[in-house]
Symmetry: C2
Subunit: 402 residues, 2 copies
Amino acid sequence: MNPLSMPPRLLMGPGPITVDPRVLQAMSTQLVGQYDPTMTAAMNEVMELYRGVFRTANEQTFLVDGTSRAGIEAALVSLLEPGDRVLVPVFGRFGHLLVEIAQRCGAEVHTLHRSWGEVFDPAEIETALQQVQPKVLAIVQGDTSTTMCQPLAEIGALCRAHGVISYVDATASLGGNHFVTDDWGIDVVTAGLQKCLGGPSGSAPITLSPVAVAMINARKHIEAGIATDSDTPSGSRIASNYFVLAQIMDYWGPRRLNHHTEATSLLYAARECARLLLDEGLDAAVARHGLHGTAMLEGLRGLGLTPFGDPTHKMTNVAAVHIPDGVDGEKVRTALLDDFGIEIGMSFGPLAGKVWRVGTMAYNARKDAVLTTLAALEQVLRSEGATVTAGGGVGAAREVYA
Amino acid sequence: MNPLSMPPRLLMGPGPITVDPRVLQAMSTQLVGQYDPTMTAAMNEVMELYRGVFRTANEQTFLVDGTSRAGIEAALVSLLEPGDRVLVPVFGRFGHLLVEIAQRCGAEVHTLHRSWGEVFDPAEIETALQQVQPKVLAIVQGDTSTTMCQPLAEIGALCRAHGVISYVDATASLGGNHFVTDDWGIDVVTAGLQKCLGGPSGSAPITLSPVAVAMINARKHIEAGIATDSDTPSGSRIASNYFVLAQIMDYWGPRRLNHHTEATSLLYAARECARLLLDEGLDAAVARHGLHGTAMLEGLRGLGLTPFGDPTHKMTNVAAVHIPDGVDGEKVRTALLDDFGIEIGMSFGPLAGKVWRVGTMAYNARKDAVLTTLAALEQVLRSEGATVTAGGGVGAAREVYA
């Protein structure tokens, strides 16, 4: 078989997106040993960097070795004992995923639902918190399936007022939309690298408040073969070894207890993603996503396309537009990829076949990426028989930039 | 914070080891989209390559996105329902890990034990199979904690004769020790990249026999949000979404059902690891590990060190030697790292502080790596007050090469 040879792509879908070349370079750095002082120093740096990214003082801020949903599962399986009540407000596909994972943890799952394209009012969530009295509230910040961004500024405080642990899946939003873990009083947050952080899928940053940590450590069982006499097991053992955060915290902490072998190359990537983001500045990065996201949305409108969903609650980093009547959405997507090397996305569930999703995130939240995509989309739409104004997309985006 | 800068290391421990530079280069390849035809083609190539590596015709041969123990947990949580009996012969730390993971799956775990440094006789295992009548036998091939390699040629057939599903953790051995999935009749095998495959930690190749696949699909529940009307759930749902092999097989298969977002950079790495191994030839790679492993072992003997454990059942790719009386094992390890940039390992449990473990695997199963390590170790041992024959290590290794 031949060596790997992949074609150049401009990834303008809902993620994964084109990785920042500096992250690719970091990932090609040669390994050091698992407990090499330079490795444990890099682990500590990653913890510190992600405290910055999550805007938290939480000591327990580290990486779960797996894709974003590994981070979600690690959080939920560690927080929820079988029979515990959890409340999940669902406003898109990834809300369903939280339900699915919580059910597999054996939790008693209560849901709230909003139509795809809308978000929840905090008052609705408070009423449900009072009725359900859950142990945990689990909610997505930005659901790429609908492009909606749930306001969270009041949710953490509501949860604390009702004695509920709050968990947020910020996979698709972190780095491109405002998020402040401590100021909002969120207990547990997980993310991924492949959206606004500009890295590849495969590593899931997580942060845990002291209250969440205490809850998790109340069910600590160090595995046989490395436990010492002072490791008295407590509480019911969680139904996973891979996601046992109580032990993983001892791997990232001063004890350096052996658990998995850290996925070093992805740790290098995660380090560089956070370093670049903090070097730019979180507010500047959110503003950049806002600018290029707006330019893309206006450009899509300028091509005659109609945005989907509540415009006041759209994520900065991805736009959804209705596929015009009579146009084959998948054919347009394929032509963009085959003729221009540009990828955009479709969606799931009730939106399958109905909208395109166009991302502007991380490395690709750039003017040239936006204008190139709009120029190519104009050509493809015309070929596929849609009515488009010549130059309407690029022109509208240029007005945003001017 | 500064860009990443890691020191050069020669990783001669039990793994992770120095990654083949061609694998690092593959990992720095830019991403394509998750369902780009070139991505799904690369996934198919990875499946085909790992059929070669595992020496199997199993259709279901793919990657689990996580470190080696993610592969183990995916296998066990998918095969074992709560209350199922599993037999685990334990001859080192990683046998304990199989016990731990099976317990967390809720299985009724039965164990056999051998002193560290020994392996099991197939007759012992057959007797236990008859007594316990487990659903699954779970066993490690090569346990790096002791450097022992369990003979498996008869185990698969014994399991099939007794109607037992066999699972083998080949993380530390695959690629450097003889392993033939189909000829031995093993049902499920998992591995990692960071040992004899020459890659980084973070991706776990797995292969599943048709019988194992049927057992797993009997408990298939497609997640809400992407399930269709024809997806009738069957059996009891497994206690994990991340490790739900029934759904992951539909992601790797023609249905391309969305599950996680594949960790593309690690898929690139896994592809290159397998490509290089098959290009060399599996038998040639095992012979190379045998040659350099023998040279290292004889070199260590030539330095006056005594091998640990049953020499007839040693893995090719890692040697353990007793730390001489009066020598501080950790101090030697640190001096090797600080003064020569070479890493060797200590061990766990009953062997903690008692042996050094020296690996010769994948990219580092090379003459210059062996001789450099022995030359440096001679210097360090002398500094630390051990009695060593000048040139005894390199000389003995050279005799193996001559």
